[in-house]
Structure formats: structure tokens, C-alpha cells
């Protein structure tokens, strides 16, 4: 808008006026007014915020319970240790006083035992239970085997571990330098007949991890006809299992005539292939995230008694575990963490009468064995029984088999050799084939021949306990879908991705976990995304666990099963005819009666002895004043012999696989 203002010169106003300089002030005044802004609303979504914080957090807190399945079926000796007037002695318990109580072998106290030190009767504090009839297990008993320990010396160490590296092993001894990296060795060739057609089955010492229809590459098999051309093709797995479909995890069948192929044990190997990419086979090594027993708190779980009356242990790790920038053995962020349980060794304490007995028994052993209760831990796998098989944990101490195992395992170690896995860079997945097991035994049993006690058959008792030390906790799950991307145009390719075309030469990513930056050079990668915590995909893959106080809470409710190394499944009822004179009866006979394998005895010449009015019971005979000892007592002694698959010395107790119906059983009632 124009407004016209006229400013007249002075001379126009008056004839007397002259023009002079004038200043005209032009005020330009401006008033401002803020532009109105509409109401601004922003909704803070608590769920989204929770998800954001959960996704960003790398802190984990671990807690859980351990349900033990433990017993002392491999006890040292059927003795009750007493610290009495005679010093520390072991009172031999006769075989008919050996009882099995909730899986534990031991004996019941008698009245005259209760005044002795070590009796549960010596219990001053709030013991409302009757101590008569108290069951006491033989050593190693509760205080040496239970997860919860009453003597202040932890029996087991809990650690958190993760897979951090790999190693190669030789599963079957061979001259060809064949190792696990060359594939799973074959140990037996089996003819399988299906619908009148001959197929060939192959047995592997460990789980082969194959499914029907899988493609395998077969190496170092003999091809007598030359028709198979195994080096140039893959073979399809036709079926699993033997002729009766048992043992599917260890036997696979291929559609090859058994006459056309010959496997060399330990030399011939197989590898699974996926679209032309062969799987890798290796042992994973675990690294510890925690150090010692200070890292966690262990206590009895509330209402925590299992079916066998064993106390369930609860635990929590006190400090947070931050997994940021920790990579697994494949250079990926951690997707699994393991609760590792290691059996703790025990230095015998000469001030403890219970320890003193074993110090005395083991005094003839060379240091440091003479002061140790447990042997060192060996590691291996539950493999097939094969002559040249290494790492067969069940064959430990059976010298007919190679004694190559993982050693140096103890609570102070920071790394542990663990499971055997298969990894295929096409599927980008690891598949566990075998769990590692640890094996221990007591020094006394392992070296029985070097102690004052003579074993029945003159051999050491080398069957020990085995247990699975690593319990998996899945903290993240990989997507079911394989992503692919190019460094030219794909943002956010994770640095653990696998090179699409040169995976075999790719080195593992190290350092902080970051995406691969865009570049002008095209490099193709493939990878699996880690699914967000709380997201479960349509296939059920995914993890979900509480997030609280800025940390993920991961609970593990696991069992700890202390198993026999080689449970004897065979039982033999043996009888032996013998005769005793008064000089060696009953001392020799008491020795027979106190043998854990003694079953029953019978005097066979009681009619002869009866003529002397000595009765028919052995106790009546030897206590009779009429018995001068001239007559020999003829007896039939029955013992039960247990044996397992491996030669591990005498077995005092049967394995759970034995049918007990052939043996008389005594019911324990409240009247003891």
C-alpha cells in the first residue's frame, strides 16, 4: 500500500523563506507476534522405552537352581570311620548291614555307635529328629559329593563360560594323520538289508549329526570296483540306524552295495555338505567369565528336595556379566553362555578324623596322591567302544584303550575343552554333536593295590564318576533367515558376516563389534541377524527373559547328574565251595562276610558237625565249647559279581540297568 505524503519546500510556504536542510524522521516501528504453534503432543510409550533399554543392555545376571542326581555308588570301602580310643579306625560293615538309602550306600547307626565322635547323635542344636536309625553313607558321602556342602569346602565350582575358540583332535588313532578336521571317522561298516536290497551302514564313534536326505562327502574309502567315484560326488543319506533302526545317532546308511565299498577304520571319514559346502568339525574351547566361588552365592533352594531326598541348590552370580564386544568362536556376538560345574579336588586335612583315616590308608602312595582325596579330572566324550578310540571317557583307566584325554582341568583353569560341533558356512549354523564329560575317581579306589586293603580280585577300583560340566543358557537366538548384502550399498552389515564367495579364507572378526562400513569395493556377505530379545519368530525361534534394573535376568534350572563311568549291567551269581578250620574261621570268613559282593553262605557238612552237637549256624559252631576245631567246616559261599563294558576292576554295586529281581531285597522299616 502506498501512502502519498507531500513535503513542501520552504520557499513554497513563504516568500521570505529559504530552503534549508531538513531532516525527516521516518519511524519504522515493527511489532512482532509469534506465529501460533499448535499443541504439541508426544506420547512416551513405556513398552517402546522398555524394549529400547532392553535392546541396548548387554548386562546379564544369572541365577537358578541345580537339582543334583548324586549318590555314592562308588564308595571307597564299606567302613564306618570312628575316632575312638583306638584312634581313627574304620569299622568294617558286614555285607548284610550295607543298605541303599535314596541311592546312597551306607549303614545305619546302632545304639552303641552313638557315643562315638562322628555320630549324628553329637548334635547340640535344634535337632528335633531322631538320631537313632540315622543313615550314614560310606565315604565319599554327602559332604564330599553334594552340591551343597556342610564342611565349608565347596565340592564343586560354578563358573560362567562361553565358547571362544576351537581346536582339532584325533578321535581315532591312525597312521594317516586323520583328525576331526578331516571329518567324522567311520569305525564300522555294516550291511543293511532293506526290501531285499543291500545297503551299507557306517558307524561313527560320535554322533554324526546327519538326517535322512543329507548329502555327505566320503573320504578315504576304498572303491574296489572304481564305480563309486566318491571324490567327485556327494552321497545321500538313505536312512539312519542299524538293521532294527536302533542307534540312529551313530549309524547312517547309504545306498551303496556293501561289496563295492570298504571303510578303513580311523582313516575313512565323512563330512556333511550343504549345497556343495562341506561342514567343518571341531572342538570348542570355553573361556571363563567368572573366577572363583566368591563370584556367586550358593544356598539351599526353598522347598528344594528332589525325589531322592537330595537337596536342590540355588545360586546367583553376584556381579553382572557384560557381554558387550565379547565374541564367540566364530567371531559373532555371544548367543549362548554356559553354566560350568567343575568338581573340586580336596586336600586331606590331618586335623579332621574323617580325613585322617584316608591319609593313613593312602600313606604308601607317592606325593601328592597321598594327601589328595580325588584324582585329577580327565575330559572326554561318550564314544563308541572302539579299540583305537581316543577320548572315550567310559574307558578311562582301561589300558586296552588309548588313554588320551583332556587334562589340566581344575577349578582354577580359565579355559576348558568342551563339545564337538559341526559348522556349515552355508547354513551359518553350528550343530552340537557331543557333550564333553569330566571323569573323577577317588585316589583310594584308583590306587587300591597300594593301600593296606587287598581288593577281592587284586585290581584297583578304577571305575569313577563322570558328569557333564557345561549347561547351555541360550541368551540370543539367530534368525531363521540368512541375510545377504554388498558393502557398496548395504548399511549395517555385521562384522561377523561370512564372505559369500571366500568364506574359507576369511579371518575371524576381532575387537569391538561394529557394522562393516560402506565401501567402493564390492564385497558380498551373508549373515544371520540376532533376533531381538523378546521376539519369537513364527518358527518358535527367539528368547524371552526378564529385563529389570537395566540388566537381563537369566534363570537356569538344571540337573547335575553324577553318573557312573561304566555302569555294570551284567550280574553273575557265583558260588564257591571252601572249608575252614577253627584257626582261620571266622577271621577269613569275616573277611568274606564283609565283602560288599557277598550274598549268602551255607554250611554243607552241618550233619557231620551236628553229630558233635554244634548246631548248624556258623556262629553257634565257633562259639560252642564243644567245638575243638578238629572238624573242618565246609561251606558254599555265594557272591554276586557285577561287570560292565570295560575292565575297571571290581564292582561293588550294580548299575541301574541290572534287573534286581534275582536278588532278595530287604525292606527298611522304621524299626531298625
Amino acid at each position: 500500500m502506498n501512502k502519498g505524503y507531500k513535503i513542501l519546500l520552504n520557499k513554497e510556504k513563504s516568500v521570505l523563506a529559504t530552503n534549508i536542510n531538513e531532516e525527516i524522521n521516518i519511524n519504522i516501528e515493527n511489532t512482532t507476534q509469534p506465529l501460533p504453534l499448535g499443541d504439541v503432543e508426544h506420547t512416551v510409550n513405556a513398552f517402546e522405552q522398555f524394549e529400547k533399554e532392553r535392546a541396548e543392555s548387554t548386562k546379564y545376571r544369572f541365577y537358578g537352581t541345580i537339582n543334583p542326581m548324586i549318590s555314592n555308588m562308588l564308595y571307597n570301602d564299606n567302613v564306618f570311620i570312628i575316632n575312638g580310643d583306638q584312634g581313627v579306625v574304620g569299622k568294617k560293615i558286614l555285607s548284610d548291614n550295607i543298605f541303599l538309602n535314596d541311592g546312597w550306600y551306607g549303614t545305619f547307626f546302632e545304639n552303641n555307635d552313638t557315643s562315638e565322635e562322628g555320630s549324628p547323635y553329637v548334635n547340640k542344636f535344634n535337632d528335633n529328629s531322631s538320631t537313632l536309625c540315622a543313615f550314614t553313607p560310606f565315604d565319599p558321602g554327602y559332604e564330599r559329593l553334594n552340591i551343597l556342602d556342610t564342611d565349608g569346602i565347596p565340592n564343586y565350582m560354578l563358573k560362567l563360560t562361553y565358547p571362544y575358540s576351537t581346536k582339532d583332535i584325533t578321535l581315532i588313532e591312525n597312521n594317516g594323520g586323520i583328525t576331526l578336521a578331516d571329518g567324522i571317522p567311520v569305525i564300522e561298516q555294516i550291511k543293511i538289508s532293506i526290501n531285499d536290497r543291500a545297503y551299507t551302514g557306517f558307524k561313527t564313534p560320535i554322533n554324526h549329526g546327519l538326517d535322512v536326505g543329507d548329502k555327505i562327502k566320503m573320504y578315504n574309502f576304498q572303491d574296489p570296483t572304481g564305480n563309486l567315484v566318491l571324490s567327485a560326488r556327494t552321497i545321500s543319506v538313505f536312512s539312519l540306524g542299524n538293521q532294527v533302526n536302533d542307534d540312529k545317532e551313530r549309524i547312517f546308511v547309504v545306498d551303496i552295495d556293501p561289496t563295492e565299498i570298504v571303510a578303513d577304520v580311523g582313516i575313512s571319514t565323512i563330512k556333511r555338505t550343504v549345497i556343495g559346502v562341506e561342514s567343518e568339525y571341531y572342538v570348542r574351547s570355553f573361556s571363563a567369565l567368572t573366577t572363583n566361588e566368591i563370584d556367586y552365592d550358593l544356598y539351599p533352594a526353598a522347598f528344594g528336595k528332589n525325589y531322592f531326598n537330595d537337596q536342590v541348590a540355588a545360586f546367583y552370580f553376584k556381579n553382572d556379566i557384560d557381554i558387550k564386544n565379547i565374541r564367540d568362536n566364530l567371531g559373532r556376538p555371544l548367543s549362548e553362555i554356559y553354566l560350568t560345574i567343575i568338581k573340586q579336588g580336596e586336600e586331606l586335612d590331618p586335623t579332621n578324623y574323617n580325613h585322617m583315616y584316608w591319609i593313613n590308608q593312602q600313606s604308601g602312595l607317592t606325593p601328592p596322591l597321598n594327601t589328595q582325596f580325588w584324582t585329577s579330572i580327565a575330559g572326554g566324550y561318550i564314544t563308541e567302544k572302539v579299540k583305537n578310540g581316543n577320548y572315550n571317557i567310559r574307558a578311562f583307566s582301561d589300558n586296552a584303550f588309548p588313554q588320551n584325554y583332556y587334562t589340566g582341568i581344575d577349578i582354577g583353569a580359565t579355559t576348558y575343552d568342551a563339545d564337538i560341533v559341526e559348522y556349515n558356512s552355508n547354513t551359518l549354523l553350528e550343530k552340537k554333536l557331543e557333550d564333553v564329560y569330566h571323569r573323577i575317581n577317588t585316589v583310594y579306589r584308583e590306587n587300591l593295590l597300594s593301600t593296606p586293603n587287598t581288593p577281592i580280585s587284586g585290581s584297583n577300583l578304577t571305575e569313577g564318576y563322570i558328569y557333564m560340566p557345561h549347561k547351555k543358557m541360550q541368551i540370543r537366538e539367530y534368525s531363521d533367515f540368512i541375510e545377504e548384502g554388498d558393502t557398496i550399498n548395504t548399511v549395517g552389515i555385521p562384522d561377523y558376516s561370512t564372505s559369500k564367495y571366500s568364506a574359507s579364507t576369511q579371518s575371524l572378526a576381532t575387537g569391538p563389534i561394529e557394522p562393516i562400513p560402506l565401501s567402493k569395493v564390492s564385497r558380498q556377505f551373508k549373515w544371520r541377524d540376532l533376533l531381538d530379545i523378546g521376539f519369537i519368530d513364527s518358527n518358535g525361534f527367539g528368547v524371552d527373559y526378564p529385563f529389570e534394573s537395566g540388566a537381563h535376568y537369566l534363570n537356569i534350572d538344571t540337573r547335575f547328574y553324577l553318573q557312573r563311568q561304566d555302569p555294570p549291567c551284567k550280574v553273575e551269581y557265583k558260588t564257591k565251595v571252601t572249608s575252614y578250620s577253627k584257626s582261620n574261621f571266622p577271621p577269613d570268613f569275616i573277611g568274606v562276610l564283609s565283602s560288599p559282593t557277598f550274598y549268602q553262605s551255607q554250611i554243607t557238612n552241618s550233619s557231620v558237625l551236628g553229630q558233635s552237637s554244634l548246631g548248624s549256624d556258623w556262629f553257634d559252631i565257633i562259639t560252642s565249647p564243644n567245638y575243638a576245631g578238629g572238624l573242618k567246616i565246609e561251606m558254599v559261599i555265594a557272591t554276586i559279581k557285577f561287570s560292565g563294558i570295560y575292565k575297571l576292576g571290581d564292582r561293588y554295586t550294580p548299575g541301574g540297568c541290572i534287573d534286581f529281581s534275582i536278588i532278595n531285597q530287604k525292606t527298611i522299616d522304621d524299626e531298625c
Binding site: 502519498g4 507531500k6 513535503i7 513542501l8 519546500l9 513554497e12 530552503n19 536542510n21 531532516e23 524522521n25 521516518i26 519511524n27 519504522i28 515493527n30 509469534p34 506465529l35 504453534l37 504439541v40 508426544h42 512416551v44 522405552q49 533399554e53 545376571r61 548334635n123 547340640k124 542344636f125 535344634n126 535337632d127 528335633n128 551343597l148 556342602d149 556342610t150 564342611d151 565349608g152 566368591i294 563370584d295 552365592d297 550358593l298 544356598y299 539351599p300 537337596q311 546367583y316 553376584k318 556381579n319 529389570e548 534394573s549 537395566g550 540388566a551
Partner: protein, 312 residues
């Protein structure tokens, strides 16, 4: 008013009258406001301010320790109450006169269940009025009553254990049956009572405390189900003839509270009772967590507070 851009218009430039001078005043502006800033900064800041910070609510278990921070595996607690020796005969007060066990062991140890109205039948039959009576430890964040905050409590219920029985495992008469409790470590003393033996508190608070030691304060109350009374207890005896003044009850050396120190001792979380001068054994108090003999059980003895305490 500020003059800017002063221009001169010489007459020579004005040749004729009626010359017009155009003064263009054009305000062409682009509307600009704070909406972008509001959207990008203000809202973001406000959102962050509106979200609660992550507070670590993780609690850990604290194990009891002695004065040297060595762990203890069991703890004995004794209670003492006033009884009326004189049968309410004038001029004696109606409901109390002496601690029951004042003349035994120099005033230490426990009083008897008869002091709190329990009969032999109550003890023998474990009646609810006895078994449901309990000792409560209340924990506060400071020893200043006007401003402290209650944190948590531990309850310890009646125990009829070996101290309450004779050698034949038979319950003692109420006049001989001591009011005491044994608490023990759940691992090392599995047959003992564990409830009340441990404390559970925030790990974060202890880890970030000075020297990783956090001080809290405890009071004790006996809740008697026999008569419905809650009886305050001190770890020192009340002298009826010379009860302490109110000023003596609180503060660092006050009787009202028993200091408890929670500590992160190189990864092991512990607590200990830290009695003030009058609360420790050597000065006649009840806190004795370092007994001279190894086999002795650490003890804490409580005495009923005199009802008229603090009146003068």
C-alpha cells in the same frame, strides 16, 4: 530512536515542485518459529526428563561376621524381660521389678518363658500363642528417629530346641526354659534355623558407599502373642533406679539403635553388629560377636526396655 541510513536529497535534485520521493519500506519475511527446535530438541529433552532413570534394585545376601569381618556360622540371641518379684505388693510397681536372670551369670544369658506368661503346657504342646510369638528386628537408614526411614525387618520365631529341652529330649518347665534363639548358616549348619540369619539389601548402595560399607540401624521388638504386647528391647539393661535420659537414647552412642554395617568385603557381602560403647559386652552390653573361645557361639542379648525410660 535510532537513526540509521541517513540520506541527503540536494535541491538540485528537486527540479520541480511536487517531486515525489519513494521510500520503500517493504517487510517481506519468511515465517519462522520454534517448531523445529521444539520437535527436535525440546521434546526429546522433555521425554528424557520424563523417563525414570534406571535404578538398580538388585539385592544380595549379606552373611553375618564378627568384629574382624570373619564370617560366623551361627548366632545366639537371648531375650530378657522384667518380672514382678514382689507380686504387686505396694509400694512396688504393678508389672515389673527386675530382670528375671539378673542374678545369674551376671545378668547375661536369657530369661525364661514364664517371664512372658508362657506355661509348661504352652511349651510342651507348642501352642500357637507361644510359637507365633516372634522377635522382630527393624532396620532404619539412620539413628535419628525424626528423619530416618524404615528399610526392612527380619522376624525370628519361637524355637523349642535343645536349650529348651533336658537330656531326655523333654521340654523344660517354663521357669527353666530360656527364651533364646539359635540361627545358623544354611550351608554349614543345615539343621539350624536360618530365617533371620542373613540380611538382604541393595548391592548398589553398598558398592557405592564409602569404603563399600553401608551403615544401617536396628531396633528389636518382641511381639508376644500370649498377651498381645509388643515389647521394645535394647542391647543394654535398663536401670530402673536410674533410667537413661531421652538424650542418651539416640545419636551415635545411643541405646535406641544397634548399628549394623553392611560391607562388600572383596566380593563377599557381609554384615556385622557394631555396638556402641554401652552396647558391647565389655561395658555390660549384650553384643558379643567375638567370643573369646573358638567354640563359643557369638551372642546378642536383649533386655526389655523399662517402661518409664526417657521420662526424666
Amino acid at each position: 530512536m535510532m537513526n540509521v541510513n541517513k540520506y541527503k536529497i540536494p535541491l538540485r535534485d528537486i527540479n520541480v515542485s511536487g517531486t515525489s520521493v519513494n521510500i520503500p519500506i517493504s517487510l517481506s519475511f519468511t515465517p519462522v518459529d520454534n517448531s523445529e527446535l521444539i520437535e527436535t530438541k525440546f521434546i526429546e529433552d522433555e521425554v528424557i526428563k520424563s523417563i525414570n532413570p534406571i535404578v538398580d534394585y538388585k539385592k544380595v545376601r549379606f552373611l553375618p561376621a564378627d568384629d574382624n569381618w570373619d564370617l560366623i556360622r551361627k548366632l545366639k540371641i537371648n531375650l530378657n524381660f522384667f518380672i514382678n518379684f514382689y507380686g504387686n505388693i505396694t509400694p512396688f510397681p504393678y508389672d515389673y521389678s527386675e530382670y528375671a536372670n539378673l542374678n545369674t551369670n551376671g545378668g547375661y544369658g536369657a530369661g525364661y518363658y514364664s517371664d512372658i506368661g508362657a506355661s509348661f503346657d504352652d511349651l510342651f504342646c507348642r501352642t500357637r500363642r507361644v510359637m507365633n510369638s516372634f522377635l522382630r528386628f527393624n532396620f532404619f537408614d539412620s539413628n535419628i528417629p525424626s528423619e530416618n526411614n524404615f528399610l526392612f525387618f527380619n522376624d525370628i520365631f519361637t524355637q523349642i530346641g535343645s536349650d529348651q529341652k533336658n537330656e531326655f529330649n523333654f521340654v523344660l518347665p517354663a521357669e527353666e526354659c530360656p527364651i533364646n534363639y539359635y540361627l545358623g548358616d544354611s550351608l554349614l549348619e543345615p539343621e539350624m534355623i536360618h530365617e533371620g540369619f542373613y540380611m538382604y539389601w541393595f548391592k548398589d548402595l553398598v558398592d557405592n558407599a564409602l569404603n563399600q560399607e553401608l551403615e544401617i540401624y536396628m531396633t528389636a521388638t518382641y511381639n508376644n502373642s500370649i498377651n498381645g504386647e509388643s515389647v521394645g528391647l535394647y542391647t543394654t539393661q535398663s536401670d530402673l533406679q536410674d533410667p537413661p535420659e531421652a538424650i542418651d537414647l539416640n545419636g551415635p552412642n545411643g541405646l535406641n539403635y544397634l548399628k549394623v554395617i553392611l560391607k562388600n568385603d572383596n566380593g563377599i557381602y557381609k554384615y556385622r553388629f557394631s555396638g556402641s560403647t554401652d552396647q558391647i559386652l565389655i561395658n555390660g552390653g549384650g553384643v558379643d560377636v567375638n567370643p573369646p573361645l573358638n567354640n563359643d557361639t557369638p551372642e546378642i542379648t536383649f533386655w526389655q526396655i523399662a517402661p518409664n525410660i526417657g521420662e526424666n
